[in-house]
């Protein structure tokens, strides 16, 4: 979440800049920045185009006698490259004498993470925990993923190891195939290929299958698109 306008970076490393010299350095604020304060006000970091300048208060610069050096053709100039979590500053000395950049103080709106949460779906003694994922940023998203995981893992699904098969280059991991094993009384039941390997000669292959009987198919659901479902009934997905 975006935090209020505040100081986001305070670097007090002295940097000597000789007459006519340009120094370039990068600083990393503690948090990613939504915006950064420049001389025209707050500006979103995504909108920086290289034409911005800091206000005079951001860069504390004097000459070696301690006299303040201002921005401008008789003082110093600077250019900025601003990303979410890195600010690169190039300062050029126009003052005709050595100057020192004493301090960099930047203000902006940082972005910090909110408190994490936990969602749980299903009931029963067996439990499967899924770790944090930085791409999951809402409760709804987390619940949707948890329900999908539950759908697959709620029932025990014994893996089927197939050895000595003829290698078929058209088979791929993730493909759903119908599997028949007469001795097991399994007749044309859908299984997903979770492993496929061929031997050194390429003549034989082995596969690992997992049964997916009972797991809903995409066609069981309404889909976004041009199809007219009038008169039909489908499920809405998680």
């Amino acid at each position: 979440m975006a935090r209020p306008l505040q100081e986001v970076l305070d670097d007090d490393t002295p940097r000597l800049i000789h007459d006519g010299e340009t120094i370039e350095f990068s600083l990393e604020p503690q948090w990613p920045l939504k915006s950064l304060e420049v001389n025209t006000g707050l500006k979103d970091t995504t909108a920086f185009d290289g034409s911005e300048n800091f206000a005079e208060t951001a860069l504390i610069i004097t000459d070696l006698t301690g006299q303040t050096i201002a921005q401008g053709i008789d003082g110093y100039g600077h250019q900025l490259i601003v990303g979410a979590q890195q600010v690169t500053i190039a300062v050029t000395n126009f003052a005709s004498r050595p100057i020192v950049l004493w301090r960099v103080v930047l203000r902006g709106e940082p972005i910090t993470a909110g408190e994490g949460g936990i969602v749980s779906v299903g009931t029963g003694e067996e439990e499967r925990q899924v770790g944090d994922n930085p791409y999951v940023q809402s409760r709804g998203h987390a619940e949707r993923l948890a329900n999908l995981i539950l759908t697959f893992y709620a029932s025990a699904r014994a893996a089927v190891e197939l050895e000595g098969c003829v290698y078929d280059p058209d088979r791929y991991v993730g493909e759903v195939v119908n599997f028949t094993a007469t001795r097991w009384s399994v007749f044309s039941e859908p299984h997903v290929i979770v492993r496929a390997a061929h031997d050194q000669t390429g003549a034989g292959a082995s596969y690992t299958l997992a049964p997916v009987e009972g797991i809903p198919a995409a066609t069981d659901y309404y889909m976004v698109g041009s199809f007219n479902y009038s008169g039909l009934s489908r499920a809405v997905a998680f």
Binding site: M1, A2, G140, N147, Y221, M223, V224, S226, R234, V236
Partner: protein, 490 residues
């Protein structure tokens, strides 16, 4: 930053399943924008007690105070605004020839001639930067005037409110759930939210402790001593006015409040003796046209005084809430939209049910658009905020006067525009320090105070309220410090 739930873009014929999570988020967002079209409006503050300059009491300036000031505050200019609107009523002082001059950032915009009745003053109002906080002041000017003029400001606001994106309209669903239609629902919701965000929800002054009379001769008008003058809006059919009344009475045998609507007495409080008292008063607005404002004034009256020579003390009156809203205690509410329930994930539903659900969202959005269009008094104006009641120019006794009445909001959104210097937001329980056995009501403090503008330099900034711990949606909070403008935006 928006309070709407984020919904990813819908895409046609790419295997995207219609998800219960997305449908629930759509429904939640529609319910939110529908509810936001009913905006409870605080009173517009005109003036307060007699010693701060109020109708009938604009006397003397020999103590360095400025009782020629009728009103001072600030308004936020935004792109598209062309006009400042000042409404109210004004009656000249006896034998006076005064006019009321309106200043913006110290520059005169013209004058209002008191005619004894209502006035509407609408000068051009351009030349400011988008988001600029402009100081508005109304002073009594002219060659001569007395103390007994009557000037009540009903509203100060800027117009028009412009919002440039085009209304996307709403879809109708009949078995096809295409990306165009679903995305259109999202766009319509976002449009309504953005349209309402163009109108700030401006704070009004919560009277935290105004000094009330303690002797019969303190009843300086027929109704007592003035505590508040301003106006209230009947923005919706269901609106009445809720006023919270709180009294700390240390010495007076009998005192009470009186409330007038458009100059007529509508409420007389019970006579309260020594003690701490509180109540909530609901003032009926059925006699006020929907979309109109009415003058509201509150007085404190002494009914019984102490015998001569007895110890005496001011009464501390608080009217922290003066707001138009339904009379909830009587079961009145705004007519929020009725939306179909969301189907559970992985459950089978008929197209009839799904069509009805999605069409109920479309209907609610369409009605919300019509409601906003029809309610120009709320969604066509950006109001000004009055500064603390004071005849002084914020140079003396500032702390005390800020304690008496501070800008107050109830958190509804995530963003607060605030202008001023050395500003904190105060919320949570209020406590009063005790010194030598006496409660220091003027020194009340909040349980939580969060600094939002540091230092002694005027600044205007946006505060993201979600980042302030404990300031949950629905929490009331006050601007503490020198607040020049305070308003939430969606």
């Amino acid at each position: 930053m928006s309070m709407l739930e984020q919904i990813g873009e819908f895409v046609d014929d790419r295997g995207q399943l219609l998800s219960a999570t997305d449908l629930a988020a759509l429904r939640s967002n529609v319910a939110l924008v529908d509810s936001l079209t009913y905006r409870r409006t605080p009173a517009f503050d005109s003036s307060s007690a007699f010693f701060d300059g109020t109708p009938g009491f604009y006397y003397g300036s020999n103590d360095g105070q400025q009782r020629w000031r009728v009103w001072k505050g600030a308004v936020r200019w935004q792109t598209g605004v062309t006009t400042l609107n000042v409404n109210g009523r004004a009656t000249r002082s006896t034998g006076g020839s005064e006019v009321l001059t309106v200043y913006a950032n110290g520059v005169s915009l013209g004058s209002i001639t008191p005619t004894g009745g209502a006035f509407s003053f609408t000068p051009g109002f351009t030349g400011y930067a988008d988001g600029e906080i402009v100081t508005i002041e109304i002073r009594i000017t002219g060659s001569s005037w007395g103390e007994d003029g009557e000037y009540v400001i009903y509203g100060i606001y800027v117009t028009p409110i412009t919002y440039s994106p085009s209304w996307p309209g709403v879809p109708t669903f009949a078995g096809v759930y295409s990306a165009d239609k679903l995305n259109q629902l999202v766009e319509a919701t976002n449009w309504l939210y953005g349209r309402m965000a163009a109108v700030p929800m401006v704070a009004n002054l919560a009277i935290m402790h105004q000094l009330g009379p303690y002797r019969l001769n303190g009843n300086i008008t027929a109704f007592g001593s003035p505590m508040f003058y301003g106006s209230v809006l009947r923005g919706y059919t269901e609106d009445s006015v809720t006023i919270s009344v709180y009294l700390v009475n240390a010495r007076t045998p009998g005192t009470r409040y009186k409330i007038l609507l458009n100059g007529s007495l509508v409420e007389t409080g019970p006579t309260w003796g020594v003690g701490v008292w509180d109540t909530a008063v609901v003032v009926d607005l059925s006699g006020v046209s929907v979309g109109s404002r009415a003058e509201l004034s509150i007085f404190a009256e002494v009914v019984t005084e102490n015998a001569a020579g007895s110890p005496e003390a001011f009464n501390y009156w608080s009217f922290a809430v003066i707001r138009s809203q339904p009379d909830y205690d009587s079961g009145v509410t705004y007519p929020y939209a009725t939306l179909d329930a969301t189907s559970a994930g992985d459950s089978t539903v008929s197209t009839t049910t799904l069509n009805s659900f999605l069409n109920s969202l479309s209907t609610a959005l369409s009605n919300a658009k019509s409601r906003i269009d029809a309610n120009s008094v709320i969604f066509g104006r950006s109001y000004a905020m009055r500064w603390p009641y004071s005849p002084r120019d914020r140079t003396a006794n500032v702390e005390l006067e800020q304690h008496r009445a501070r800008p107050r909001l109830v958190r509804l959104s995530d963003r607060l525009i605030i202008s001023g210097k050395d500003v904190k937001l105060g919320f949570g329980a209020i406590s009063v320090p005790v010194k030598d056995g006496d409660a220091q009501y003027g020194g009340y403090v909040h349980q939580f105070e969060e600094g939002v503008i540091d230092g002694n330099v005027d600044e205007t900034t946006i505060v993201y309220l979600e980042s302030i711990k404990g300031l949950f949606p629905g929490t009331a909070y006050l601007g503490v410090g020198t607040v020049k403008y305070m308003a939430e935006i969606l």
